[in-house]
């Protein structure tokens, strides 16, 4: 009997917690809502290869709700896709200063650093070694 009651209470608590998390993500102030919509549009634009549009959307989202690691991550990726490598570097660093443990940011930054060191600013006197090796970890050259 007691176990049944405990179960019900646990269920109720978990549902409330889930709703709270869901609510917090969906609701919020108008700026957050608009930023969320911009992020969605930007993501869709990026997926279709419209990276200028995506960058504009992500930047707008960043103006609406500054210092959000998720938004900064997307801004940096869009900057990369638009060839703004120096700016992307700064944006990644800005994002990591705010959220050093953000997995996506960290992974992207590591990959970007490899790409940057290989193609944009290779260190002086560094002969590239290895046949068939690719510069960036997952980079595929389509020259």
């Amino acid at each position: 009997m007691r176990n049944e009651r405990e179960t019900k209470m646990t269920v109720a608590a978990l549902i409330m917690l889930a709703m709270f998390v869901a609510g917090a993500a969906v609701a919020g102030d108008p700026a957050s809502k608009e930023a969320g919509a911009e992020m969605e549009w930007g993501y869709k634009a990026g997926r279709h290869g419209y990276w200028q549009e995506a960058l504009m959307r992500f930047r707008h989202a960043n103006e609406l709700t500054p210092d959000q690691p998720r938004i900064l991550n997307n801004v940096a990726v869009a900057q990369e896709a638009n060839g703004l490598y120096e700016e992307a570097l700064l944006t990644y660093q800005e994002g990591l200063a705010i959220a050093p443990n953000n997995d996506a940011l960290r992974r992207n930054y590591m990959r970007f650093q490899e790409f940057y060191a290989t193609y944009i600013a290779p260190p002086e006197d560094s002969g590239e070694q290895g046949t068939g090796g690719e510069g960036a970890d997952d980079a595929q050259d389509n020259s």
Binding site: T10, V21, A22, V77, G130, A139, N142
Partner: protein
Amino acid sequence: MRRITAELFIVFMAVAGICNAGAREVRIELHLKPELDIDGTETGFVGPVVIEPREGEDVQSVDLTAAREFEIFLRKLLRREAELRLLPVDDNLRPPTDSLATLAQQPEFWTAINEETNADLIVAASIDVKVLDRAGYTTEEYVSPQDGKTYFRQVLVEETGFSYDILLIVVDGKTGAILHQEQITDFMPKDERKLKEQTDMFTDLYTLQNRLVGIFVPRVVQVKRALYAG
């Protein structure tokens, strides 16, 4: 009870996950500018390809083969990828020295080639190829899965193949000025038995091809990045 809690936890994670949509991997194309500002109407002359002199050593057959193979490879690459209008080979070209660094300091040598061939760009290289066929023992750390202790063990390391050290320069034919200089080091592993086959020495050398093409034409590199969907 435990089972119900576990199931609820999964539902909770799913709801929370949907609302906080995570990062998704996307493939993006990164554009790289070429090193040289050319429009594709330029004429190009390949040569000379010299063998980098080594102190106390004579030129070996592998050096001669490598220089010849590299010139063929370079011409093929420039013709196919760089969209340069390549001029025919000049068999009578005899540089005053085998040192490309010295030649680079002599603009008159390059302007003379320009007068002879009318080449806008001159692509020259010096090459140093070493045949690596060595084996030896090295000590490495080893953590035993049995007792977790660290031991040291001897490991046989074999290294067979060709090691390349190439200096490539692109010269403005009209002025003799160096437009671009690239030092490329690469290694092609070869089976010990195939070390004597000195043909197609430069094919499938990704690094070399990649760097050479990047001097003349824009490139696109495909990479993966994590992007938040909302």
